[in-house]
C-alpha cells in the first residue's frame, strides 16, 4: 500500500545515499540501504533510488551486496534500461575469486526478469557450469532453467558434452537427476538415500512423468522406492504413495498394499504437533477412505477432537468419524459426537448434530435418542439444528418417520432462525397426519405471520398448510383461508404472493386435483445416485491425492438446449476423442427408460442407444458443463475396441476442451451406472 508522504521518504533516502559523508562511513551507508529494503518490503515504491543502489553494489561487504541485489531483482523489470547498467557490475562479480560472490552474482543476474537479458547471462551461465565450486555449478544449472523460462526456445550449453552434464546433475542432486535417469538405458541408479528430503520428494514428483516400459521395470522401481513409504518425513511418504498409486494403476492389489502401509505414517501426521500438518493429514485420510473405507475403522479414537484444536480440524475429524462408523465403534463415536453438541461455537455444535444425523441413516435408534435428548436443552441453535437433521433423516430414511414424528410432536419450543422454521414446517406439512399437535403449531405461525421477515419461511408455510389441509381438512380449513387471504392481499413479496395465488387457484380446481399436484412421494429412492457414496477404485485417488485443493471442485453439469441428431453426428465426426476409459463394469441391465431417467437425473441427456442385448451395445449421450459441450459414447462388446467385451468403454469428445470438466463428467457417469448396476442385480 502506498504510504503517505512516500515521495518525501524517497527524497530523504536519496539525499542520504548520495551524501559523501555517509558513503564514507560504511556502517551508516549500510544502515540506509537496510532502510530502503525495509520500505521496499512494506510496499513503498523506492524504484527511484535505482541508480544510487547500483552504486552501492560495488562493495566488499557481502551482506550489503546481497541486499542491493535483492533490490535490483525486484525493480529490474520496472527499470530495464537502468538495470542494464548494473549488469556490468554483476558480470564482474561473476569472475570474483570468492565462489560465494560468484554464485550470488550469477543467481541474481538470472533473476532479472526483463526482455533481452538472455544475451547477457548466457556466457556467465556457461562459465558457471564449468566452475570448480559446486555451489556455483548448482546456481548455474538453475540459471539454465530460469533462462529457459525467459526465452523458451534457447539452447544453452550446446558445447557441453553429456558426460559433463552427468557430473553436473549428480553434483546438483536435484530434479534433473531423474529426468536424466529416465532417458538413459533404464539402469535406475537412483541414489535417493543420499539426497535430502526435499530433493527426494522433488524426484518422486518428477518420476510421475515416467512410464515404465515393462512390468518388470515397474516392480524394480517400486521395490527401490518401497522404503520411502515409511519415511519419517510425511511429505516424502505421501509423495511415494502418490507415485505408487500412479505407477501401479493397473495393479489394484499393489495400490491397496501401498495404502495399507502408508496408513501408519498418515495417522502419525494426524497427530503431529503442527496443526497445519494435521489438517493435511486428515484431508489425505479422507481421500484414502473413499477407496478403502475400512482402513481406519479401528483407529477411530485418533479422530476424536482435542478441545484446543482449531475448528477447521474439528470439522474434518467429524466428517471422518461419520465415515468410519461401524458396529463395534458406533457407541463410542456417538458418545464423543454427543459431547461436541454443546460446544461453545454454534457452528461446531450444528456440525456435530448433523454428523449424528448422518450416522442415524444406519443406526437410527441410538441416534434418535441422542437427538431427542438434545431438544431438552432448549437452546435455539441446537433445537434448530436437530429439527433440520430430522427433516433430512426422514427424507433419506423413511422408516424412521414414526419415531421422528413422535419426538417433534412432543417438542414444545420451536426454532427461532429461518432455516429451522422451514425444516419444522416441512415436517409438519409432510407428516401432519402423524403429528397430533401439528395444526396448533402451524396456527401459531400463521398468527405470527405479520412479524415474520423471511419470505422463504412464508413460502414453506404456504406449502405446509396446503398439504396439511389435504390430510386434516377440518382443523386446517379456517387457518388456511386466513393465510391465503393475508398472503394475497397484504403480502409485499411477489414470490410469496404468487405462490399463494397458485395454491388458491389450485384449490379452486378441487381437492383431488390439488392432491395430485402437491403431494409427491415422501422420499425418492433414486436420490441414492446423488447421496450414496460409491467405493471409488483406487486409481481415481491419485488424481486428487496430494493436490492442495481443499476439496476437488464440484463439477456442475447442465442440460441446456437439446441437440438434434444431425448436429450431434456432425460434431462427433469433427471432434477428436479426448478421453477414453474402460469403466471396469458391464452395461447396466436396466430398462431403457430407467437408464434414460437416471442419466437425466444427473443432467446427462441420452441421444440414442441400441436396444436390448444387441452386440455391440452402444449409447450416445451428451451434457453441458461450464461453457463446454461434452459428447460421449458408451460401448460394449465391440471387437475392434480393446477391453470392451467385458466392460463398458467410454469415449469422450468435447468442445471447447476442459479436462477438469471431463474428469467430473466421467466420475458422475460412473457413479450413475454403478448404482444402476447395483440396483438391477
Amino acid at each position: 500500500m502506498p504510504y503517505l508522504g512516500s515521495e518525501e521518504v524517497v527524497k530523504e533516502l536519496r539525499r542520504a545515499l548520495s551524501n559523501p559523508n555517509v558513503q564514507a562511513d560504511r556502517l551508516r551507508y549500510k544502515n540506509y540501504i537496510t532502510k530502503v529494503i525495509r520500505y521496499m518490503t512494506q510496499g513503498l515504491d523506492v524504484s527511484a533510488l535505482f541508480m544510487d543502489m547500483v552504486k552501492a553494489s560495488a562493495t566488499v561487504d557481502i551482506v550489503q551486496k546481497k541486499l542491493v541485489y535483492l533490490y535490483m531483482c525486484t525493480y529490474a523489470s520496472d527499470k530495464p534500461d537502468l538495470a542494464l547498467l548494473a549488469v556490468n557490475t554483476l558480470r564482474k562479480d561473476c569472475a570474483d575469486p570468492n565462489p560465494m560472490v560468484r554464485g550470488l552474482a550469477l543467481r541474481n543476474m538470472c533473476n532479472f526478469r526483463m526482455p533481452g537479458m538472455t544475451e547477457y547471462i548466457e556466457q556467465p551461465i556457461v562459465a558457471g557450469l564449468r566452475d570448480k565450486a559446486s555451489y556455483v555449478r548448482r546456481v548455474a544449472v538453475l540459471g539454465c532453467a530460469k533462462m529457459h523460462s525467459l526465452q523458451p526456445n534457447t539452447e544453452i550449453g550446446r558445447d557441453i558434452n553429456e558426460l559433463e552434464w552427468c557430473g553436473l546433475l549428480v553434483d546438483l542432486c536435484d530434479v534433473f537427476i531423474s529426468c536424466l535417469d529416465s532417458h538413459s538405458d533404464g539402469t535406475h541408479s537412483l541414489q535417493m538415500k543420499d539426497l535430502d528430503s526435499w530433493a527426494q520428494s522433488e524426484v518422486l514428483t518428477f518420476l510421475l512423468r515416467y512410464r515404465p516400459r515393462s512390468d518388470d521395470e515397474l516392480f524394480d522401481i517400486l521395490s527401490l522406492l518401497d522404503a520411502f513409504l515409511l519415511s519419517s518425513h510425511a511429505h516424502v511418504a505421501v509423495a511415494t504413495l502418490r507415485l505408487f498409486l500412479h505407477l501401479a494403476s493397473a495393479h489394484p492389489t499393489v495400490q491397496a498394499d501401498a495404502l495399507l502401509r502408508t496408513s501408519a505414517p498418515l495417522l502419525a501426521t494426524c497427530g503431529a504437533a503442527s496443526r497445519e500438518l494435521r489438517f493435511a493429514g486428515l484431508c489425505h485420510v479422507q481421500q484414502v477412505m473413499r477407496s478403502q473405507p475400512g482402513l481406519f475403522g479401528t483407529h477411530y479414537k485418533r479422530f476424536f477432537c482435542g478441545y484446543s484444536e482449531p475448528s477447521y480440524i474439528k470439522f474434518r475429524k467429524m466428517e471422518i468419524l461419520v465415515e468410519l462408523v461401524n458396529d463395534e465403534n458406533v457407541a463410542l463415536v456417538l458418545e464423543e459426537l454427543r459431547s461436541y453438541c454443546t460446544d461453545v461455537s454454534p457452528e461446531l455444535a450444528q456440525a456435530a448434530i448433523a454428523a449424528i444425523g448422518r450416522i442415524a441413516r444406519t443406526y437410527s435408534e441410538k441416534c434418535l435418542d441422542i437427538l431427542t435428548g438434545l431438544l431438552g436443552l432448549k437452546q435455539d441453535h441446537i433445537t434448530s439444528a436437530v429439527i433440520q437433521t430430522f427433516r433430512d433423516l426422514v427424507w433419506f430414511c423413511p422408516q424412521s418417520t414414526a419415531a421422528v414424528c413422535q419426538t417433534v410432536g412432543a417438542c414444545v419450543d420451536s426454532p427461532q432462525d429461518s432455516e429451522g422454521k422451514q425444516a419444522l414446517l416441512w415436517l409438519l406439512g409432510e407428516h401432519g397426519d402423524q403429528i397430533s399437535s401439528a395444526p396448533y403449531v402451524m396456527e401459531g405461525y400463521i398468527d405470527g405471520l405479520k412479524t415474520e421477515l423471511s419470505s422463504a419461511v412464508k413460502m414453506e408455510l404456504l406449502t405446509a398448510a396446503v398439504k396439511m389441509f389435504l390430510c386434516r381438512p377440518a382443523e386446517t380449513q379456517d387457518m388456511l383461508g386466513r393465510l391465503l387471504h393475508y398472503c394475497i392481499e397484504e403480502e409485499s413479496d411477489v414470490c410469496v404472493r404468487d405462490r399463494a395465488l397458485l395454491y388458491y387457484r389450485l384449490l379452486q380446481r378441487g381437492v383431488e386435483e390439488t392432491r395430485k399436484v402437491v403431494t409427491g412421494p415422501k422420499s425418492d429412492p433414486s436420490m441414492s445416485v446423488l447421496t450414496g457414496r460409491q467405493e471409488e477404485p483406487i486409481s481415481d485417488t491419485d488424481v486428487t491425492l496430494s493436490s492442495p485443493d481443499d476439496a476437488e471442485e464440484e463439477i456442475s453439469l447442465s442440460l441446456g438446449p437439446p441437440l438434434s441428431h444431425e448436429t450431434f453426428e456432425k460434431m462427433w465426426l469433427d471432434l477428436e476423442t479426448l478421453h477414453r476409459q474402460t469403466l471396469g463394469f458391464p452395461r447396466p441391465r436396466a430398462a431403457p427408460d430407467t437408464l434414460q431417467a437416471a442419466l437425466q437425473l444427473v443432467k446427462i441427456q441420452t441421444l440414442a442407444f441400441t436396444p436390448g442385448d444387441t452386440v455391440p451395445w452402444k449409447a450416445y449421450i451428451y451434457t453441458r458443463s461450464t461453457e463446454t459441450l461434452i459428447l460421449a459414447e458408451l460401448l460394449q462388446g465391440d471387437q475392434q475396441a480393446p477391453g470392451s467385451d467385458e466392460s463398458l468403454v467410454v469415449s469422450v469428445k468435447q468442445q471447447p476442451v476442459n479436462q477438469h470438466a471431463i474428469r467430473g463428467f466421467v466420475s458422475v457417469l460412473k457413479s450413475v451406472l454403478q448404482t444402476l448396476n447395483v440396483d438391477t442385480l
Binding site: 541486499l67 526435499w198 510425511a234 492442495p548
Partner: protein
C-alpha cells in the same frame, strides 16, 4: 514449485516478501490476507484463489500458510505440489528463523529481516527448495542476528522453559535455549551447550465413570545444539525399551512405545541391541526421534476428577436459581513431582450471570467467562499425590433440569516437568572423546497436555 514466500504480521503488515518466479504480482499478498481474514475463526492452511473471481491474473493460485509465533508464513504456488512439502518447508523456515534469531515474534522478524532474506535466498532458488540444513546454510549466512531480548526483572523471576523452576540447580535456565545459535561467534562465545529434550504430548479422554476411554502419547526427542561443530554423539535410551505390540516382555517394568521414527541422519546400528542412537547434531534444533503410544498408558493418568453437579433454588418465586459444581481433583503423580500451570475449564449453562467460589488456597484463581460459557479454574502448582477441591456456585436465571447436561465435559491443560508418561529416559549422553573444548549437556523432560478431557 514455490512462486512467492511472504511473512505477514497478524495485522497484515508485510514483514518479508520474496518472489522467486515472477509469476504473480505483489497484489497476491493482499488477496491472501483478505481471504484469510474474511471469515471469523481460523482458516485451513490451504487456500485456493477462485477461478475468475480475481480476474484471470490470479486464477489457479494456491496459498499455503502456517501460523507460528503469531505470524502468517505463506507460500504461493501455481503448480500442484504436495501440501505436505510446502507445510513442512514453512515449518522448517520458521524453525530456522527461530534458531537464528533466538525467538519467534513479529519484533524479532522485523529486526532480523536482512538475515531472513539471506536465509531465503539460499534455501529456495527459482521455486525449488535447495537446502534447509543448518550445516550448509551457516557457511552462507553473514548477517549477525539482532537479539530482541531486553533486560527485564520479569525474566529472572519467571518460571523456566516448560515450567521448570530456575532455582533448582539441575535445570538449565529458561532463557538459555532461546538465544540465537550464531551469536556464539560474538562476545557471548564460549558457551558450548547441548540440550536434549524429551517432550511428550498427552491426549486423554476419561469417561463419565472415571474409565479411561482414550489415551495417546506423542513423544519426541529434540536436540538443540549450540556447538559450532559437533562430532558424533551417543544417546542411550532405556535398555528395556520395547517397540511395537508384539515385543511385549514378560515383566511389567518394560518401557514400551508402539511405533518410532528417526531422523534420517541417525545411525541405528546399536539401537536394536543397546538402544543407543548415534547422531552428529548440526547446529540448531532438530528432532531425532518421534514415537507414539496409543490406547495404553503405562501409569495411571495424571489427574482424576470427581465432580458433582447439583441444582439449587435460591428463591423459587423469582426463579433465581444456581448450579452448584463441586470438583475434587486428585493428582496421581509420584509425590516428588509437581504439575505446573494447571488450568481446568468447565462449560457452564448458557445464560450464567455470575459466580462465587470457594477455593482451598489463595494462589488459585477462578473466573467465569460468559463469552465462552465456561468457568476457568487455575492452579499454578499441583504437587503429586495431593487432592484439591473447589466449590463453584454459578447463578443461572431460568434454570431447567436439562441445563445441567450443559455442564461438561471438563478439559484440562497442564505441564509436567521432569516427567515422561511412557517412562522413556535418557541413560547417558556421550560426546566422542575427540570433541574439543568443554561442553555442557542438558537433558530435560516435559509432558504437555495436548488435550485432556474428562466427561461428567
Amino acid at each position: 514449485m514455490i512462486s512467492q514466500i511472504f511473512i505477514l504480521s497478524s495485522k497484515g503488515d508485510h514483514l518479508i516478501y520474496k518472489d522467486f518466479r515472477g509469476e504473480e504480482s505483489k497484489d497476491s499478498i493482499s488477496v491472501f490476507y483478505e481471504m484469510v481474514t474474511a471469515l471469523s475463526g481460523d482458516q485451513p492452511p490451504v487456500v485456493m484463489v477462485n477461478y475468475g473471481f480475481w480476474g484471470d491474473l490470479m486464477s489457479g493460485l494456491h496459498f499455503i500458510h502456517v501460523r507460528q509465533g503469531g505470524l502468517y508464513w505463506v507460500a504461493s504456488t501455481k503448480t500442484n505440489p504436495s501440501p505436505f512439502t510446502i507445510i513442512e518447508f514453512l515449518n522448517r523456515l520458521a524453525a530456522l528463523t527461530k534458531d537464528y534469531c533466538g525467538s519467534l515474534s513479529e519484533k524479532s522478524v522485523r529486526m532480523n529481516f536482512a538475515l531472513i532474506y539471506e536465509l531465503l535466498d539460499e534455501m529456495v532458488d527459482f521455486g525449488y527448495i535447495q537446502t534447509t540444513s543448518t550445516d550448509i546454510l551457516k557457511n552462507f549466512i553473514q548477517t549477525e542476528a539482532v537479539s530482541s531480548k531486553p533486560f527485564s526483572l520479569f525474566d529472572l523471576s519467571n518460571v523456566g522453559l516448560f515450567g521448570a523452576e530456575t532455582q533448582q540447580s539441575k535445570v538449565a535456565p529458561s532463557v538459555a535455549a532461546s538465544r540465537p545459535i550464531m551469536s556464539s561467534r560474538g562476545e557471548q562465545g564460549g558457551k558450548n551447550e547441548i540440550f536434549v529434550d524429551v517432550i511428550e504430548r498427552l491426549s486423554v479422554v476419561i469417561g463419565s465413570k472415571g474409565v479411561l476411554m482414550k489415551a495417546d502419547i506423542q513423544g519426541e526427542i529434540r536436540i538443540k545444539c549450540f556447538l559450532p561443530t559437533c562430532s558424533e554423539m551417543r544417546i542411550g535410551l532405556n535398555e528395556e525399551l520395547s517397540i511395537g505390540k508384539s515385543q511385549l516382555k514378560g515383566y511389567s517394568s518394560a518401557v514400551r512405545v508402539d511405533e518410532c521414527r528417526f531422523h534420517q541422519a541417525v545411525k541405528l546400528d546399536e539401537f536394536d541391541t543397546f538402544r543407543i542412537l548415534k547422531v552428529c547434531p548440526s547446529q540448531g534444533e532438530q528432532t531425532v526421534m518421534q514415537y507414539q503410544l496409543c490406547d495404553e498408558l503405562p501409569c495411571a493418568p495424571p489427574f482424576q476428577l470427581f465432580p458433582s453437579v447439583e441444582k439449587d433454588y435460591v428463591n423459587r418465586s423469582v426463579n433465581l436459581s444456581m448450579v452448584l459444581i463441586f470438583l475434587k481433583l486428585r493428582c496421581d503423580l509420584p509425590p516428588k513431582s509437581t504439575a505446573l500451570n494447571v488450568s481446568i475449564t468447565v462449560p457452564v449453562p448458557k445464560g450464567s450471570t455470575s459466580m462465587s467460589q470457594e477455593l482451598s488456597s489463595p494462589d488459585q484463581t477462578a473466573e467465569l467467562q460468559p463469552k465462552n460459557k465456561a468457568l476457568l479454574w487455575e492452579i499454578p502448582r499441583f504437587p503429586g499425590g495431593a487432592q484439591l477441591s473447589a466449590l463453584f456456585k454459578v447463578d443461572v436465571p431460568g434454570l431447567s433440569s436439562a441445563s445441567l447436561l450443559e455442564v461438561g465435559p471438563v478439559s484440562m491443560s497442564f505441564e509436567l516437568p521432569k516427567q515422561t508418561c511412557t517412562g522413556l529416559q535418557i541413560r547417558f549422553l556421550r560426546l566422542s572423546p575427540t570433541q574439543t573444548g568443554l561442553s555442557q549437556r542438558w537433558v530435560r523432560y516435559v509432558t504437555h497436555s495436548d488435550s485432556y478431557t474428562i466427561r461428567i
